[in-house]
């Protein structure tokens, strides 16, 4: 880490820690993708993770909900530490039920939406609440309709994913995550697979979530979102946190030379 690491953003001083990540390391073969990443997200934090492709930001996000298993490090969600153990020389989750439960508390939004193609939009949204959380179906449908209204695709409830535009599919995927009432939302480049004219509608939904106080970790290349919506920006470089701070400060004069060069490529 470089001396530019600055942590306090000042906006969420009293918030409880929703997500705590300690010293995550991950290698694919001999290539070390994450070289010891630590991060705390407090209630209502909106953290943008920036970095060139290959800097490890998506892998980092996927390690948090164990879609990738970190080789080393600790992850706690809302104060609960995910139990890991060594098996056959590898770091693996010790308790599958705990992993399932933690995943159900972390909303994940993928780059390519990953909706279940054989289910309607409404079915996609109620699937988790009904079958994972075992909540009454009628209640879940009523909530799902409110969520679909909120993301602006209520009229598409009985359509199938393939019949929607990319922007609509991503908004449906956000509604699907929200239906689980997550403690933290993880966004993995949510607008990177979209046509430019569809990016705005997804960013608007994300912005309104941020304003409602949702704790969010967003891997993104949308500089305007990082600058205007998030209260903290983390810039990753070669598997490490290069710069970390409030957007005003980083985009102002606080960023490292690498960060300046990175945003220079975006015309920022």
């Amino acid at each position: 880490m470089t001396p530019t690491t600055l942590n306090q953003t000042g906006t969420t001083m009293a918030g409880t820690t929703r997500l705590s990540v300690r010293n995550i390391r991950k290698s694919f073969g001999t290539h070390e993708v994450l070289r010891g990443i630590s991060l705390d997200a407090r209630d209502g934090d909106v953290i943008s993770l920036l970095g060139a492709s290959g800097s490890g930001k998506s892998t980092f996000l996927r390690c948090i909900n164990l879609l990738e298993i970190a080789d080393h490090g600790e992850i706690s969600v809302d104060g609960e530490l995910i139990q890991m153990e060594q098996r056959g020389g590898k770091n693996v989750p010790a308790n599958r039920r705990q992993v399932d439960r933690i995943r159900s508390e972390l909303g994940m939004v993928f780059q390519s939406f990953n909706l279940w193609s054989h289910m309607t939009i409404l079915e996609n949204v109620i699937e988790g609440p009904v079958h994972v959380l075992k909540r009454p179906r009628a209640e879940c449908i009523a909530e799902a309709e409110v969520l679909l209204e909120k993301v602006g695709i209520a009229e598409k409830r009985n359509a199938y994913p393939a019949h929607l535009s990319g922007g609509q599919q991503q908004r449906a995927a956000i509604a699907r995550s929200l239906a689980m009432k997550p403690k933290v939302m993880l966004f993995d480049e949510p607008t990177s697979a979209l046509d430019p004219e569809l990016v705005g509608e997804v960013l608007r939904v994300m912005r309104s979530l941020a304003e409602e106080g949702m704790t969010m970790l967003v891997v993104t290349h949308e500089m305007s979102f990082a600058r205007n919506v998030s209260n903290r920006v983390i810039f990753m470089k070669s598997g490490e946190i290069d710069s970390d701070g409030a957007p005003d400060q980083l985009f102002g004069s606080g960023g490292s030379p690498s960060f300046r060069q990175f945003i220079g490529n975006f015309g920022g």
């Binding site: 909706l115 009985n158 359509a159 199938y160």
Partner: protein, 236 residues
């Protein structure tokens, strides 16, 4: 062409149709169940289970069904421990042997068809299911099986139709289904053409109905693969 004879032949053959249907439905049912077990072993992480399933599929897919049927019908009785076991009253029945060999054979094919269905599931949809907290049986029941079944359905329809035709082999172990009765009629009348034409017509109509039903099932299960409706879907 002797219409009266054809009519009488048809009546005699149709009397044997329930036997053909019984062979078919029992073997598809038990073969399907067994296929689920085999495919579960085939894709499991357990080396012994996986290799057993591979061996099973190799044997039952790689050898002629007729030989399998003969081995079960004529062969099993040579073993004292089977002949004197509680299973023998069932295993000496030609019908039981025929269903058993048909089911064992179709299980091998069906397991492979289901496995291809599983392989066709988009990894991203599995990842999405894991990310909401699904795993194990819930993941299989809600996401893997429904998607795999939809992918497997066209190939599975073909296997089901093959099974209808394979029931004809049961005539060679003295089960009086449509083909067996047809051969008996021929040996009595020497009118090969008429009798076999009638038998073929019965199989054709039966398979036509089965394929229509399978196509309808596929249509009902895959609205997402069709173009979006031009008018908004009516709200429930």
């Amino acid at each position: 062409m002797d219409i009266t004879f054809m009519f009488e032949t048809m009546k005699t053959l149709l009397a044997a149709l329930p036997m053909t249907l019984a062979l078919f439905s029992l073997s598809v049912f038990f073969g399907g169940l067994l296929a689920l077990v085999i495919v579960w072993m085939r894709v499991s992480g357990n080396t012994i289970a996986r290799n057993f399933a591979k061996g099973y599929i190799f044997v039952f897919r790689g050898s002629p069904l007729l030989i399998q049927m003969f081995l079960i019908f004529y062969g099993l009785g040579q073993f004292g421990f089977i002949r004197y076991s509680f299973l023998w009253p069932a295993l000496r029945e030609p019908f039981v042997c025929a269903v058993l060999s048909l089911a064992l054979c179709t299980a091998g094919y069906t397991a492979e068809i289901f496995r291809f269905g599983l392989r066709a599931i988009p990894a991203k949809e599995i990842e999405a299911a894991r990310s909401v907290g699904m795993s194990g049986f819930l993941l299989t029941r809600r996401i893997l099986a429904p998607i795999a079944f939809r992918h497997a359905l066209p190939a599975y329809s073909t296997e089901v139709v093959m099974m209808v035709k394979s029931t004809a082999l049961a005539s060679l172990v003295t089960v009086w289904e449509v083909t067996g009765v047809a051969q008996r009629l021929i040996s009595q009348t020497y009118r090969t053409m008429e009798v076999f034409l009638c038998a073929a017509a019965i199989y054709l109509i039966l398979n036509f109905l089965i394929l229509q039903a399978m196509a309808l099932l596929e249509y009902k299960l895959t609205p997402h693969r069709r173009a979006a409706p031009l008018f908004p879907v009516p709200q429930r």
